[in-house]
Amino acid sequence: MKNVIEATGLVKKYGEVIALDGLDLAVSEGSILGLLGPNGAGKTTAVSILTTLLQPDSGSATVAGADVLKSPGEVRRSIGLSGQYAAVDEHLTGYENLDMIGRLYRLGRRRSRTRAHELLKIFDLTEAGGRPVKTYSGGMRRRLDLAGALVADPPVLFLDEPTTGLDPRSRIELWGVIRDMVARGSTLLLTTQYLEEAEHLADQIMVIDHGREIAYGTPDHLKTLVGGERMEVTLASAEDISQSQEVLGRYTVGDLTVDERTRKVTGPISGGTPVLTEALAALYEAGIGLHDVGLRRPTLNDVFLSLTGEAAEPTENSATAGDSVEIKKGKGS
């Protein structure tokens, strides 16, 4: 399979901050690569370099056979980009936004118009097409922005966190649209902070942090590294922590995480609810009382814990191993 996107040794520094630290990547024709990482991992910087918006300090990249540094014009002819922020003009209507992009691609007046109408229809925006974008909801803006990336039907697409900030329903709708796009043969590089999103959409996932690759493979491969579901129990009494670890350790397939403050014990299991039931029965027999219990899917944070032994974005109280941490939101990328 031919690689449509290829990058070697990309390095980009902003002053002291190293955004990319020798990143290599390759995406073969007609496939989806999911670039997964927390805020500030270098995802957007990588996309900006591959879409000719930014020059790397060193390294090289080709997109659709054209060198991003030597022939950026040629690269731009074969790509569509939808950035992290819906880059649509609020004062224009949805239709006018798409028509304008078509004209800027030099599609000609008639083709731009037809294409704008087609895309509004595909993205379920026909009704809203005549209204100024400032009246749109967040999900509608994102759909319009995505439509903008598809105006010229480019063979290579870059979507930078396409669903960040969307409600779950809009997110699932958008996934459907993205899958349809790629089913028609496009090659796609997608960045995301959500493991679930990468699993849903990507053929290959690359986990990056601090501008470096820390894992690469198919979603299944990644799952074997990370483990499947998490069993999470909240103990009634902190005195039971060590005993519960001993009991639960018999059912989990990896290391347990303990949060002393919230009395939460978490561990990966394989086998779903039957295993959970057995584990609960064992806890009951041991006389350990529970406040809450559940199964949950691994998050980006679990991926980082499994792959690096560190949380995605360490908070101050997470320095000692075994503490549970939450991904801090809101830091700029």
């Binding site: 731009r76 790509i79 992290q84 922020y85 004062h91 224009l92």
Partner: protein, 256 residues
Amino acid sequence: MLAKRNLIKIKRVPEVLVFVLISPIMFVLLFAYVFGGSIDIPGGSYREFLIAGIFAQTVVFGATFTGAGLAEDMQKGIIDRFRSLPMSQSAVLVGRTASDIAYNVLTLTIMGLTGLLVGWRMRGSFWDGLTGFGLLLAFSYAFSWVMAYVGLLVPSVEVVNNASFMVIFPLTFIANTFVPVENLPSVLKTFAEWNPISSVTQAVRDLFGNIPLGTPDPTAWPLQNPVLYSLIWSVVIIAIFAPLSSARYRKAVKRG
């Protein structure tokens, strides 16, 4: 195409239009009636003297649209999209500055009509009058490139507005826009004489035939050759700021 986008905005954001239209009317009326009575221009009417100055000041302020518009597009990431398209890299800037001309034509029309209502008349020939308007547009177009650079340089729309206010206000007041330069203290007088806004005003005033009879001939070269001096400034400004802005644009990228 991009100019059209900016013009649609006038229609969609009537607040801007109101500002564009009302502020010149307000200026003409304020100066005509508030200062008109107390400022005496020997041998002529202050209102006629004033119009050219207000025209010049307003078109220079019009250039702020370019700066503010570009800063907004940068903030929203729209420039990122444009830069990822296979289009001429200068199109965004040219479209932006070109749409300022349209704003200014509109503004000048409104101001001209208001001027006529308060008693201003063009006393020169039709062609001279047209040349006057042409000169105003040429200079304001050049100034749009300055604001384009500013817009790409600073982080937000608010900064553009504040910065341009701080520069444009003194620039348009330390000039012959509202008072004859002869009455200014010496340092300010020299500044005003060489200020391109003075020469634009002088040229327009002259072409409109609004220089009162008996006004002493200006002593400074720029005011003796106002049309030439204004055109030189316009060309020099474009020659410096168009390449600067384009270079800046090529590196411009939204930083989240």
